[in-house]
Symmetry: D2
Subunit: 363 residues, 4 copies
């Protein structure tokens, strides 16, 4: 009966592949910067091969449907609660995804999570060649191995309450890892967690800002896509859509974290990024003022708040530009002025802790 | 360093339990029948322990959130594509779920899927004592073992195109299984599949009608709950909310399959069920007619279509009663009549292939 | 104080215009036919100027947001329940919308609803020059006036239960209107109402098939856009996007009604329309069969059902192609065949009462 | 033909009433305070009788569907852009709604909006006996008339950018109105507008806090109910569900504004309100800590943030309790403590500008 059984399997397999492909991709519409393409990446997630709750290929399917370009499955090295049932080495999760990733055009980056108590806590090493040697008794040896392999290493959820119960602190161990060249970035956002302290550390120490989902559940359990929610992720401004392109951008800190309504990144990146998000046209002008049409061409919400300005220029106090929506904005001229500086803060484009992007429109 | 690592694990575990509990249960609002409670059950689903894509406990969480009362994880006996990585016997999936099921109040029924090519195709055996002995070379031996254990056995997706490419046929092998007491029910609906032929077989052969999800993906991948979709399931009209209550009801064919907008079952069950779904009040009456208020008190849609009637009674041709919505219905009296029979078919309460429930309201 | 009050008004007005523009347009993605552009049109709706419940400009805003190209506000001539409060002639509703329609790029067609009891019931006359002369004692005079103005006239909701309580009948009055050149089309779908009888009448008498919303409420009260519902409408296959383009297409019956999941139209239009809805590629082929990739490039659902065929060609029984989704389809070759005709019916492309579009794919 | 026309009207009317009733009410689930029932009220909205875009009865239907208890249609006295077409006095809007409000059980409060440029800006007067005498040349006379009629008068959107272009200021005119007994409350939230300055004014001057929608569009155009959005409204803690009950509560400042995720009100009301929102049970306790189960029994989100505390008590830093969801919360005991004060701020229960409700749970 062996032949018959194999036949059953073959039929089932054919059906499974069909199902796997019947997916709709929803592209995330955000602009490119001049000379760079904006890749949507998630470098932190789990499957049943560590403490996640889905088969690894599900992560590829989810990434495809959500319009991601690149992912890294970062199973815990030291924490594998299913190991009684799942017998495999630390590379297995990556290997199982390769075919599906290739088929759906998702860039797959090999990574692992070094999982230690505080300090130093949890770190992801991505762009690894082999995850297995990261299993080390001493945490430093795991970092040195990752560094030896040329990995890009970042600190995960520095504000995680289970490890930092009262405030988000930088420990001496972090100084040492940083000095040893074993820390290249920090998560400023992780799933539902936002860590403004980490923004400042990235600015001060020239580290790369990262946003990740750290997803364990099926993604829809944690995010309600019917409410336009999106997973926490990293925008990578890359010279090309390839693993090498991503690596070069990470090395040069050309990233922004995308967390809920916030885009978190360096001012020199978010300024041109904002400019590409809106199309502003002058509709009419007379001595009483000017009417602009402002179109938000992206999936992002843009929240503007008036800042210090010449009060002869009369305009909105706050303004929310919804995705893909066009607004007519009237700016009044008082006291005989014929123009001026329209100053505002894009309050959800975060360039430092509690600080949005300041912008001036010359009229 | 062992202590430290264990501490990490303990912290992670605490967090996981918290996450697991942070779930909202959405009760399915349908009526009970007199003397019975309506249990919402799904007796067909898979996890990574056969060809499913989630950890088994995810199925318990999903069931809790969707308002189910009972589930059965029915891993394939003969088809285990992940067996290179997952090393476990056929009972493991059930055992892994017990604790979470108990915590969330989900009734967990031990089951397995006998997975053979046609004929006889795939069958679920539920209420098993031990799944392991079902691994047999000859399919009949698997059925005999299930029968020996006192299992309730039903034929899965008889209309599955991969096994029945052109029409839904009953094979001699099914006659034999039926005669041998190895077939007690048939799926009339399986996931997106609806099989009217199976309704007739259940009526003719006194078998129990079953609806199941046969879910392999995370449930939200196949069902869009934001659009009020629900998984295909079985309503079990049980004397009590317990495994024994379910078994007694299955034995006595007190079930209905709930598939998309359809409720599929025996007329003697669906008639009182329909009556409990609506509250009808006479609002006013004079010689020109009567005004009724009809309230649909359930999560179900109710679709009414006028049937043959005395044309002196003038009323709606079609009427859709949306969930939890109240309607004012006017019935006119022509030619001096003072009442009559308001006849209609509840077109989505299926009591035979292509036949809805006929109903008469005396006015 | 007059100056001050006027200032208030001016400020309020500026705000209103801004609000009115802050709308997101959702284009309806369906294909064009060769030589024609597919315009999405709704020729039947009401405002407070008859028995509707919104100010007329709301209809323009709704049309913009829903991706419509053209609308006609068709207030009842004979039924104006708000006339105690609203004092205006029959053209007022149209005139109030002109500016907003021009601003948002919506084509506005002047129309009115001739509102009589059965027979002949309700008719819309669109492409009128002046609605006022349609107010006539005798219904025929209203039709003659509309015809004199060169209007396109169609019968509304012939299956409306309030006027046709038991079946959808054609009355002698309709024969006369038809013979008099006063009937050019019929609604085959109106809001939630579908009237297959009208399809046959259109085919037999060479009339244009129309689908309309007949909306009275704010549109979101009747349609749940979060569930991807759409208003009932007419696809017009026009030579150009202009009132003249629409008129020419209506005259030549180049329309399809879009009602729920159904597209209802003439076979010679729906066949090329279906072909433009899908992209089919051969992925691989050997002696055992062929694998196709089928992409549904539209917002429409496409439901395929196998029809009579050479059983040596083994393929799906039913297949649902969701919007913007790609499917991998395997067709098996049995008995040594090397190809054949893959026959199916597109069951939701209606070309006659209860009849979908039959299609053959040569392999 | 008059008889026939009337017949048509009667049929149409019957249909309209049916449609109007076919609505589903979604109750807003928030707790009552001891001795009081929580009424959901909106005292600021418009119809076509001023500058709104719907027929007045639509406001009643919307209120019913959204689970409101009471509304007031507050047409502008001085701003009636549709008056060329709509000829009616200032009471007409209220009168047109009475029947539908009674049928659906909505409490209807007569009101009007005094609409002046700043200062004093716009004010609502509700619980009026007759709106017509409010049409006055001098704004003070309008207020005096409202006061004479015993109205409850509140200042609308003090932070409206069109009237307060740079900051939310209190003018001398407001002092005078306040001193004259012509100001009893202030809107702290209006539609999408939140005005923390107004909270402080209410606290300092013993005024009632109000939240309103100020809706002009069909409600679904401004709020996306599929995303669980709700209109801005006022919770009124009333002794009884009646206009008198509402008036007594407004007079005694027993209100809270419900704006997006915020509940804004006096601390002495929000403290017991919060206590009724959650069910807290001790699940287990040993020397290492205690496990609580916390159930959010409401439709509200509850956002908790740890405040100053004994660090031997180890617990969450932030915690979000989603609606109708149960959480398991672990509190650790360090350094041999056996209990302590779990201190947190409910950050979305606003009791003063930028200040949430502080709460302590004794363990």
């Amino acid at each position: 009966m062996k032949t018959k059984k194999m036949l059953v399997s073959a039929v089932l397999l054919a059906t499974c592949l069909m199902t796997a492909q019947a997916q709709r991709r929803n592209e995330i519409q955000v602009p490119d910067l001049d000379g760079y393409t904006t890749l949507k990446c998630d470098f932190h997630m789990h499957s049943v091969f560590s403490d996640g709750l889905v088969w690894p290929t599900v992560r590829v399917d989810e990434a495809y449907r959500e319009g991601l370009d690149a992912i890294s499955l970062t199973e815990h090295i030291e924490y594998r609660p299913h190991k009684k049932d799942i017998v495999a080495d630390h590379n297995r999760s990556f290997d199982l995804c390769r075919k599906q990733a290739e088929k759906l055009g998702i860039l797959l980056i090999r990574g692992s999570e070094i999982t230690r108590s505080m300090a130093p806590g949890h770190f992801n090493a991505i762009f690894l060649a082999d995850s297995n040697p990261l299993e080390q008794k001493e945490y430093k040896d795991a970092f040195y191995e990752a560094k030896k392999q040329g990995a890009f290493i970042f600190w995960n959820h520095p504000g995680w309450s289970a490890q930092q119960p009262d405030s988000t602190k930088w420990w001496p161990e972090h100084t040492q890892l940083y000095n040893d060249g074993c820390m290249h970035g920090i998560e400023v956002a992780n799933g539902p967690l936002y860590m403004p302290e980490a923004i400042q550390w990235c600015l001060d120490k020239n580290l790369t800002m990262i946003g990740t989902s750290d997803i364990h559940q099926p993604i829809q359990t944690d995010y309600d896509f019917s409410k336009d929610e999106h997973r926490t992720m990293t925008f990578v401004f890359a010279k090309e859509r390839s693993p090498e392109g991503i690596r070069e951008a990470l090395n040069n800190r050309r990233t922004a974290a995308y967390y809920r309504e916030l885009v978190i990144g360096r001012e020199d990146l978010l300024r041109p990024f904002f400019e590409k998000c809106v199309e502003i046209k002058e509709v009419s002008r007379n001595e009483k003022g000017v009417t602009l049409s402002i179109m938000n061409t992206t999936d992002l919400i843009l929240k503007l708040k008036k800042t210090a300005h010449d009060t002869s220029l009369v305009y909105f106090r706050d303004m929310t530009l919804k995705p893909h929506t066009c607004y007519s904005v009237r700016i009044g001229f008082d006291n005989g002025i014929k123009g001026g500086d329209l100053n505002f803060e894009v309050t959800n484009f975060i360039v430092a802790p509690d600080k949005g992007l300041n912008y001036t429109l010359k009229l």
